[in-house]
Symmetry: C2
């Protein structure tokens, strides 16, 4: 392939990121641009404004997904899509999602300026409500588009204040008429995203070649002991919290021993009866475990069950480990992943293959469409946090790899 000589500008990308970050900017330097708020509308309007300057106008579908289509030279070809999301967590950062959308926009702008046409049409996508912070679950827009959720169920979702998704979507002016399922007809989907981990930064690498999404196994653990007075002797206690604490520590060790793809998180834990001077009789906690290898993930669960059984026997408590939710491994398209890897290689970026342990719109899209993702590092792995930060160089590297992979897939003609 002949690679067109584009004026892709890292500086201009950075300026766009900083401009977008003013919308819903927080005092600590982060962003609160939650989905279907006025700030979300303002962010969408700014993107629309920028795209209008290069002759692209949005198509909005019935769940608010925005697409900007740049025609190709071969009208028979389905479009090559790329993008991410502009919505943020309530105390989110400036790059999670936004980088993928604005790097995509910068590619569109550079193509426009260079007068380069691709064979296949290009489609820049801003998915609705990737974060799931205000309306749960996350990845609603891509989930509806790929047929994982129905429009009706999503439009009826309510936020903690009782506001209805469909009503809010109309209120901010983004209840469109396009069929979200049309997005299943794209030829390919690429998404550039910050890593939200620190493997790349710690290794001094600029690009993560994302090979797919890990499997997720979410469990619920209940420990039933016996309440006792805080003044009762230690001997003979059946302390549900001490037992649960042992299991939490052991679970972390299980994950640390199961390879760099393994994760285990106890994010919620409740204590009953919850009195300062009463030995807890019951503890419930959630387990979110993930692994790139389903067999290894299953071993993590059996290791957890073995620890639970040992703790139960030794402490005279009952431990129940129950399934809550399971998501299989989602491999990305090997050809597209290969293009990402080749682009990083060619440009001399230090890179590694890695799975994503985190859900992204790309993971839902991959269920129906050939997909690949590109990670760029983020400082300290900090994300979903106002302190989230990246360097302009990392952003630029990610953009270049995205551009190369997109253009190779769409076919570029000077």
């Amino acid at each position: 392939m002949t690679r067109p000589n584009l004026s892709l500008s890292g500086e201009r990308l950075w300026a766009s990121l900083m401009e977008m970050a003013k919308i819903g900017g927080t005092p600590k330097g982060g962003n609160n641009r939650q989905t279907l708020t006025g700030a979300d509308a303002d962010g969408r309007a700014l993107l629309t404004h920028w795209c209008a300057e290069i002759g692209l106008s949005p198509v909005i579908d019935r769940v608010g997904n925005m697409t900007f289509r740049r025609e190709g030279t071969d009208p028979s070809l389905p479009p090559v899509a790329f993008g991410s999301h502009l919505d943020t967590q309530p105390t989110g950062g400036r790059f999670d999602g936004v980088l993928g959308v604005l790097a995509g926009f910068e590619i569109m702008r550079a193509l426009h300026e260079a007068g380069v046409r691709t064979k296949a049409p290009l489609l820049l996508v801003n998915w609705t409500n990737e974060e799931g912070a205000r309306f749960s679950p996350p990845m609603m827009g891509s989930g509806v588009a790929m047929g994982l959720f129905t429009e009706a169920e999503i439009l009826a979702k309510t936020d903690p204040d009782g506001a209805v998704f469909g009503t809010e979507l109309a209120r901010i002016g983004y209840a469109g008429t396009a069929d979200p399922a049309k997005l299943q007809d794209i030829a390919a989907y690429f998404e550039l995203h910050i890593e939200q981990g620190k493997l790349l930064e710690d290794a001094g690498e600029e690009i993560g070649v994302v090979t797919g999404a890990v499997a997720q196994n979410w469990l619920e653990v209940t420990v039933a002991g016996e309440d006792a007075h805080g003044g009762s002797p230690m001997a003979g206690r059946r302390d549900a919290l001490a037992a649960a604490s042992e299991i939490v520590v052991a679970l972390e060790m299980i994950a640390r021993s199961a390879g760099s793809d393994a994760r285990a998180t106890v994010g919620q834990l409740t204590v009953t009866p919850s009195s300062r001077n009463v030995v807890p009789s019951r503890v419930w906690f959630s387990v979110d475990s993930r692994h790139g290898d389903p067999a290894a993930l299953a071993r993590m669960e059996s290791d957890l069950r073995a620890v639970a059984a040992r703790v139960a026997a030794r402490r005279g408590v009952a431990v129940e480990v129950a399934p809550f939710w399971y998501a299989p491994v989602t491999p990305f398209d090997p050809t597209l992943v290969g293009r990402v890897r080749a682009a990083a290689q060619r440009r001399g970026y230090r890179h590694r293959d890695m799975p994503t342990g985190i859900g992204h719109d790309a993971v839902y899209v991959a269920r129906r469409v050939p997909t690949a993702m590109i990670f760029c590092p983020c400082h300290g792995g900090i994300s979903h946090n106002e302190a989230e930060s990246i360097t302009p160089e990392w952003a630029e590297a990610g953009m270049h790899v995205l551009a190369d992979a997109v253009l190779e897939t769409a076919g570029a003609e000077q």
Copy 2:
């Protein structure tokens, strides 16, 4: 001392216990006779009825404490008091508190039947709201009597439904006129109570000679880590809950290594932000630690701080250990304790000296009045629980020791 030949009946004591247990009896065989409820009024009325049969009438003070006075032969002597409480936890047992009151009543009845006079007057006490379940804090009646709380503050306390203590006390007909502080003028106080632990049962002993109350050191621990996505790599996490769990397990070990008098309980623990797929950034938990030896209790705190510092350094989290409440050791009166011990010895009961790790009315009374306590075993150490149980033989043994110690202190004449 000549010991009078009393017809103290274990069978009759047991029958009284079972009769009282019908008031507020629960389907699982426990008792719900919370303070200042209709059931509390019924329990008080039954005790009043029984005492009336042996010529004793109640004096009610302004916080509802009930005393039944049996005159002695020497009007110049202050009374020797004994008793406990009739109120229970919402899902409490049939013996916690009740045993001390009804064993005291059985002693009064046996003295009446035998026509035995003591030198000093005797005073059977039923303290108001020992449990603190409905109105917090616990041990209100004894606390007011001994000047630890003011009447005004206690009368103004509200339950979770907003009911006011003073109003409820009047409603059930037990807002008396006597001055609670008059109870500071008693010569001595004895209280028989179930152990609420399982040291005695496990050792096959019938009597605990309670030497005093342990010191209590209540702390609050806050662990500050950093939130991260549940899909982020394990390396580099600063998981506040994993850190807290390590500390909870270590604290239990510290208590188990600090002698049989040591206790440590984490009864409350909260997780922030509490999301299934977010590594917790902050965990707060309570620590209730106790020891008969204040120096050992201080060492437990410094051991906890050392563990906290190690965990903090290794995991890159911040751990703060803050004081919350401290209660000093409360020794009981050596002479009275000696009489309890001697009585157990004389009657051939297997016994041991032990502190109480749990607050009792006797612990407050001991701040002003020479005091001693007698423990009898309870099955499995189970208490504050409908399954609480003791044997009639244990109840009888405790009653005999109580009677001997009371009569030796009051001076009995046949």
